[in-house]
Structures are given as structure tokens and as C-alpha cells.
């Protein structure tokens, strides 16, 4: 059993302090860490998967994986950066597993000619266009579809920046790319959404 010199409720401890206690075997500190970050992670996965169950499974999985990675966490780094790295890797693993799974080809598979589009873009005409959906006044569904159609890298930047509120610099660290790349991916992503949404009131 542990006893830390740290006073006050665990909810007031810093992430780093909580991690120190978890390393010492304090399950309460682990719970406090989960409580603090569960909502952001849940929404991170929700906006990637648009499915609550998947989002909950992934969120839980991140917290379980986190423990094995704690050894590689350095206190100089921001904890959320570390957390989102684990989360992103998990999501990529999932996507790969889904891609290698025998079955129908994912519409998110990159198109062959090297541009950033995906297969779904090529068959757009066979489904409802965002404009049609808009005409049904389902703005959110349209936006959601538009986000789903973004290439993986752009969608990740968009979610981390716009939904999770992270700075470009932190996103760069999470995705191992320069800030300039984050900036251009973000711009392209929003531009695509803007086009997909058309000039309609959103």
C-alpha cells in the first residue's frame, strides 16, 4: 500500500503526480486519471468512429495500454501529448486490423493515383451528396459524413485541433510531423469540408 506526502484530493493533483502514485501502486490515482481524461478521449474516438460503443472500448483500451507505456513517459513532456499518442496509435492499429480483415473493401482506403482522396470519393455519385443531405436539413449528418470522407491524416488533425482544442505544436508532437504540416493539413481539411458543405447555411 502506498501513502504519499501529497495532500488534498487526488482530483487536485497534477497528471505527473498521479502517475508517480500509479507507479507506486495507487489504484485511486489511476481512477482519478481516468476521470480527468475520459471525456476528451471518449470524444476523440467518438469523432473518429461515430459510434459510442467503439469509443468506449477504445477509451478503456487506452487506459489499459497506458500503464505499460508509463515507463517511457518523461515528465518534461505534456501528459496529454503522451495520452493522445497512445490513443492515435490505438486508432491506427484498429484501422489496420479492420483493413486486413477479410471482407468488403473499406471506402476509406486511399485511392490508387496518389492524391489524398479515398475510394468513397470515386463513387460519390452513387450515394447522396452532402448537398442533398443538406436539403433534408440534416446539417450535422452532412458535416459528419464530410468528416468521415476526409483522409485519415487530415481527419486526425481536424479532430485534435477543432474538437479536442489542441495547439498545432502539440498535434505535431503527437503525430510526429512538423507544425507546418499540421497547418497545411488542417487548412486542407477545413477547405474540403467547406466545399463538401457547399455554400449552404451551416
Amino acid at each position: 500500500m502506498t501513502s504519499s506526502g501529497r495532500s488534498g484530493p487526488r482530483s487536485s493533483w497534477s497528471d505527473f503526480e498521479l502517475i508517480q502514485e500509479i507507479k507506486k501502486g495507487d489504484l485511486g490515482a489511476f481512477t482519478a486519471l481516468v476521470e480527468r481524461h475520459q471525456r476528451s478521449l471518449l470524444n476523440f474516438f467518438f469523432h473518429n468512429a461515430w459510434d459510442r460503443q467503439t469509443a468506449e472500448d477504445c477509451t478503456q483500451e487506452v487506459f489499459l495500454r497506458l500503464y505499460s507505456h508509463l515507463g517511457s513517459y518523461e515528465p518534461q513532456a505534456k501528459f496529454t501529448t503522451f495520452l493522445y499518442r497512445v490513443a492515435r496509435n490505438l486508432w491506427i492499429d484498429r484501422m489496420r486490423a479492420a483493413a486486413s480483415h477479410p471482407g468488403p473493401v473499406s471506402l476509406e482506403t486511399p485511392a490508387a493515383n496518389g492524391d489524398e482522396g479515398v475510394l468513397r470519393d470515386r463513387i460519390r455519385s452513387r450515394e447522396e451528396s452532402p448537398v442533398e443531405i443538406l436539403e433534408k436539413r440534416e446539417t450535422h449528418a452532412a458535416l459528419r459524413t464530410a468528416i468521415e470522407r476526409l483522409p485519415e491524416d487530415q481527419r486526425m488533425v481536424l479532430i485534435l485541433s477543432e474538437m479536442q482544442g489542441l495547439k498545432y505544436k502539440e498535434i505535431g508532437e503527437i503525430m510526429d510531423v512538423p507544425v507546418g504540416t499540421v497547418k497545411s493539413r488542417m487548412h486542407t481539411a477545413v477547405e474540403r469540408l467547406k466545399e463538401l458543405m457547399g455554400d449552404h447555411e451551416v
Binding site: 471518449l42 467518438f46 498545432y168
Partner: protein, 550 residues
């Protein structure tokens, strides 16, 4: 044709353009018609993204993650569990299954025991066998003295103290019709509506004792029931006073859910005590005007729980805090059946079981050999409640605690502190604790002993006076356990005790709903949160637990 600067728009809108570059960009956007138009479109898109659906974690999600974590990382759990070289096979088994739900352990143990029972019962028995049996009974420590069974000849093999004793004659003490004392006002019993809380007059006929207690706890939320119980048991005029005291407690709760007397020590116990006062009056985390307060309090306790089940830190007199807090978690669980509380409550109960010392008592710390009757009283109470909620694994610990308690009780019924006949702070509060624990630990309490103990309790008023100069002589702890114990006794002792205690407690309550900070001899430890929670709990006595003898 697009303006080349338009590629900066998103970064600009998101505040990601460096300070030096912002102003020139702003000037450009103002002057460039193309960019102005684009800016508005990008802005609309970003705003729409901000309005997208988000999700909140389901209640209890963090707890589920915690459980999954415990299962996924057994090495972590191994590391933190206190281990002693003397642990028996039973304890190592227990430790292994700490995170299996109590019901699953119970089912497994029961299946095993039934199998053993079948083998034993079906074999021919000799006198030698009987002797061997009794030698096993002589050392019950950690023995899997499991479910109650009877031998084929009906003589019984083991006195299972928690065997419900079947249907018995019951004469309810209904309020009598004031105009005609010979006629009681017992109403016709309607069919039970599963969506309505149970009327206390119904469960006595319908439920076995333990289930009755559960139904009772569940019905604390029912104002009509409480009114009836107040009338039946002398709790009139206390409702508003309890409400005011809960209001005060709600106001002084800290932002993170705890109650404190200014120092970290005893915060878990004080939070448990305050929660018991809310729960006792029917406020749970899902129901009642103080639902949010109760929820925060419970969350604080859960955040303080260790992986081995201990609620709080292993510092100081922590078994007090653990006992009080666990009782609060159990009551909340029993009252709401919220599955999020099931695992924390049962692991806290398991800690109490494993913290019992080899003599069957509890001290300030894990297996401390120095017995503390007062600490033990809380553990007995919570074990009984755990048993009532279906956890039969606590039976050996409870039996042992009962035996320990009778060793501490002298021929006058007085209960010692560390040993028999040892009363460093007087015998009254200890005897009150012991008397209530005796009722809780025994299915059929010893009536003669209760008579003796009632006499002891009535020797001394727990609240000497409401004048400040007598505060050091007042003892709310005695008032609390004395009221619980004598309520169980009923009859004249209750009638002699409660009106006076109630009167003094009501008189000393402040206008703000609180009791004075230094109101009794123990308030130095818990301050006004302690006095107020205790004051409320004393007033709640008539509707907190059912009278088991009924």
C-alpha cells in the same frame, strides 16, 4: 482565382498565426474581397464543427475502466495487496479473487460446500465423526463455515446463527385508535405495487427478517413511511430539525465532495458520517433534494479507496474511517442497487474481513492486536448489512466477532474497551456500542443480556445539559449508539431514554441547523461536521433501521 494568402485563413481563425504576422494578415484580409468572402465561409464551417454532437462518459464508466485495469494487470494488483507470510490458503484464495464480484465467489463457495455437504451427509456417521466436527468448530478462524444446512435427521450440524428462523408469530405494535384503544388502526393490506415503496406494515408479514431490513432501507426515501415510523416510535417534531441539519451539512461540503474538520485526518470518516446522515433520511445519489451532495460525497470516498478495498489512507486510526465510510457505501448501494457501487462496497467489506485480528476483533489498523470495541462496532454493523445484502462470505468473520464481543462483556453487561472490565473513558458508550453490535451480530440476541445492558445505559444521560459548561461531559457518540441499541430493545427502556435525548438534542441545535462545534467530549476530532452529523443521526434513529425483534 484564389488569393495565395487564403491558405493562412484557418490558422488565422484558430489563433495559430504568430503575433508578428497577425496584423499584416488582418490588414490584407480587410482589403482583399476574395479573402473576406473566404474568411466568412471558413468561419461558418469551423463554427458548425463546434456544434457537432459530443458524448459524455456513461455513469460508472471510470469504475468499469478501473475494474478492467485490475483484471488486465494482475501484476499491478499483486504489488499493492498487503501480504503476510502467515496468510492461509483461504486468504490467498480470497486475495486472488478480490476482484471477482462477491456474488460469484459466493456461488462458487456455495457449490463447493454443497458438494462437501452432500458427501458428508450421505456418509454413515459415528460418534467419532461428531467429535471431529466439534473440533473443527472450535477454531472457526477463516474457516469456510458456509451456508446453513441441516442434517437429514433434522438435528442440525452447526448452529447457523444467520439462518432465518422461519415464519414466526408476530404481534405488530400498530398505532392504536386514540378514541378506542382496543381497536388498532391496521389497514387492509393491498396487493404490492412493485413501483411503490413498501409500507412498513406490509413487509413484516411478507419478508424474512433480513429481506425486511433491506426493504426498510429502500423505503427510507418514502416520506409517508417515515411519518408513520416517527409516530410509532416517538420521533415526532424531528423531521424539520433533520432537514435543517442536512441543509447545513450540504452547505459546508467541500467542492470535491469531502467533509472536513480542517485537517486531513478523519476526513474519510467524517464524510462517511455525513453521508450516513443523508442516507438515513432517504437522500441518495439518485434521489432527493441532496442527490448531488450525496453523489459528490460518494465520489470522494471512491476516490480515496485503495486497491485492497480500504477506504482512506493507512495512516492513524484508519479502521474507524474505513468502517464508517464502508457503512455509508453499503447503505447507498442497498438503497439504490446502483451497480457502480457494488464492487467498491464489496471490496471494502472484504477489507474489513481481512483486517480482523486473530482474536476476532478490530483495532485501529489492519489486524492490530489491540482490540478497540468502538472500531469493532462499526465493522460488525457493516458486516451484518453486507450479509443482509447477500454476501455470505462474511459469516465466519461475523461469528468470530460475536464471540469476541461476548468475551469483552462482563456479568453486568458492561463491554470493555481493549479487554473485559477495562473502561478508560467510562463504560457507557462502549456498552451502547456493544449492545447494538450484539443485536446486529446475533440472529437471536440474548434477551437477559439486553436487559442488563439497557439498565447500564439508563444510568447516565448522554447529553448532560445544553449549557456550554457541560459540553465536555456530553457524549453524542453514546447518544448515537445508545439510541440505536435501545431502539432495538424497545419497550420501557426506549420510552425512558429517547424522549429525553431527543429533547436535549433538539434544544441544542443552532438556528443554522448545526450543533455547536465543541458540543461533546469527542468533538475535538471531528468538529461541527461530527456534532451535526451525529445530531441528525440521533434524530433519525426511529426510521433508520427496523426493530429486529419485531
Amino acid at each position: 482565382m484564389k488569393c495565395e494568402k487564403s491558405s493562412e485563413i484557418v490558422a488565422y481563425l484558430k489563433g495559430e498565426v504568430e503575433e508578428a504576422g497577425r496584423e499584416p494578415l488582418r490588414l490584407h484580409f480587410e482589403g482583399c474581397a476574395e479573402c473576406t468572402k473566404e474568411l466568412a465561409r471558413f468561419d461558418r464551417t469551423l463554427k458548425a464543427l463546434g456544434r457537432l454532437e459530443t458524448v459524455d462518459p456513461a455513469p460508472g464508466f471510470a469504475w468499469r475502466v478501473r475494474q478492467a485495469f485490475a483484471e488486465a494487470h494482475p501484476e499491478f494488483m499483486e504489488r499493492v495487496r498487503p501480504r503476510r507470510p502467515s496468510d492461509s490458503w483461504w486468504e490467498s484464495l480470497r486475495a486472488h479473487f478480490d476482484f471477482v464480484p462477491a456474488w460469484a465467489i459466493s456461488v462458487a463457495v456455495h457449490v463447493l460446500l454443497l458438494a462437501i455437504a452432500a458427501i458428508v451427509l450421505l456418509s454413515p456417521r459415528s460418534e467419532e465423526d461428531e467429535l471431529r466436527d466439534s473440533s473443527i468448530q472450535a477454531k472457526p478462524r477463516r474457516h469456510t463455515a458456509g451456508p446453513e444446512w441441516k442434517s437429514a435427521d433434522g438435528t442440525g450440524r452447526r448452529s447457523a446463527d444467520f439462518t432465518p428462523d422461519g415464519p414466526r408469530e408476530y404481534t405488530p405494535d400498530w398505532p392504536r385508535d386514540p378514541d378506542d384503544p382496543n381497536r388498532d388502526v391496521k389497514p387492509r393490506i393491498p396487493e404490492r405495487d412493485p413501483f411503490k415503496p413498501m409500507d412498513p406494515r406490509h413487509w413484516v408479514e411478507r419478508f424474512k427478517k433480513d429481506n425486511r431490513i433491506l426493504a426498510f432501507l429502500e423505503s427510507r426515501t418514502n416520506e409517508k413511511t417515515k411519518d408513520l415510523l416517527r409516530k410509532m416510535y416517538g420521533g415526532e417534531e424531528t423531521g424539520p430539525a433533520v432537514r435543517r441539519s442536512l441543509g447545513w451539512l450540504a452547505r459546508v461540503q467541500e467542492a470535491d465532495g469531502r467533509w472536513t474538520a480542517g485537517k486531513r485526518e478523519y476526513e474519510v470518516g467524517l464524510t462517511g458520517l455525513a453521508l450516513l446522515a443523508f442516507l438515513g433520511d432517504g437522500h441518495t445519489h439518485v434521489r432527493g433534494e441532496h442527490a448531488e451532495v450525496v453523489k459528490k460525497g460518494i465520489q470522494f470516498l471512491l476516490s480515496e479507496q485503495r486497491s485492497n478495498g480500504l477506504v482512506g489512507r493507512n495512516e492513524g486510526h484508519y479502521m474507524y474511517d474505513h468502517g464508517i465510510a464502508t457503512l455509508a457505501l453499503l447503505e447507498a448501494y442497498v438503497m439504490t442497487r446502483d451497480e457502480a457501487l457494488q464492487a467498491p462496497a464489496s471490496s471494502a467489506v472484504a477489507f474489513t474481513v481481512s483486517a480482523q485480528n486473530s482474536a476476532g476483533g478490530w483495532g485501529y489498523a489492519y489486524r492490530a492486536n489491540e482490540n478497540d470495541t468502538s472500531v469493532g462496532g462499526w465493522q460488525i454493523l457493516l458486516l451484518r448489512l453486507a450479509l443482509m445484502s447477500g454476501d455470505k462470505t462474511v459469516i465466519p468473520a461475523l461469528n468470530q466477532a460475536r464471540d469476541r464481543l461476548s468475551l469483552l462483556t462482563d456479568s453486568e453487561g458492561k463491554v470493555g474497551y481493549r479487554a473485559r472490565l477495562q473502561f478508560p473513558n467510562g463504560c457507557h458508550a462502549l456498552t451502547a456500542v456493544g449492545m447494538f453490535a450484539h443485536v446486529m451480530a446475533n440472529h437471536t440476541p440474548d434477551g437477559a443480556l439486553l436487559d442488563l445492558q439497557a439498565k447500564v445505559l439508563l444510568e447516565l444521560p448522554p447529553i448532560v445539559s445544553t449549557e456550554p459548561q457541560s459540553y465536555p461531559s456530553n457524549d453524542l457518540y453514546f447518544a448515537y449508539f445508545g439510541s440505536l441499541a435501545l431502539f432495538q430493545k424497545g419497550g420501557n427502556p426506549w420510552a425512558e431514554w429517547y424522549p429525553l435525548v431527543k429533547k436535549k438534542v433538539l434544544e441544542s441545535q443552532g438556528r443554522d441547523g448545526a450543533w455547536p462545534a465543541g458540543f461533546d467530549k469527542w468533538s475535538g476530532y471531528g468538529g461541527q461536521v461530527y456534532t451535526t452529523a451525529m445530531g441528525a443521526l440521533v434524530l433519525e434513529t426511529p426510521w433508520r433501521y427496523p426493530r429486529l425483534a419485531d
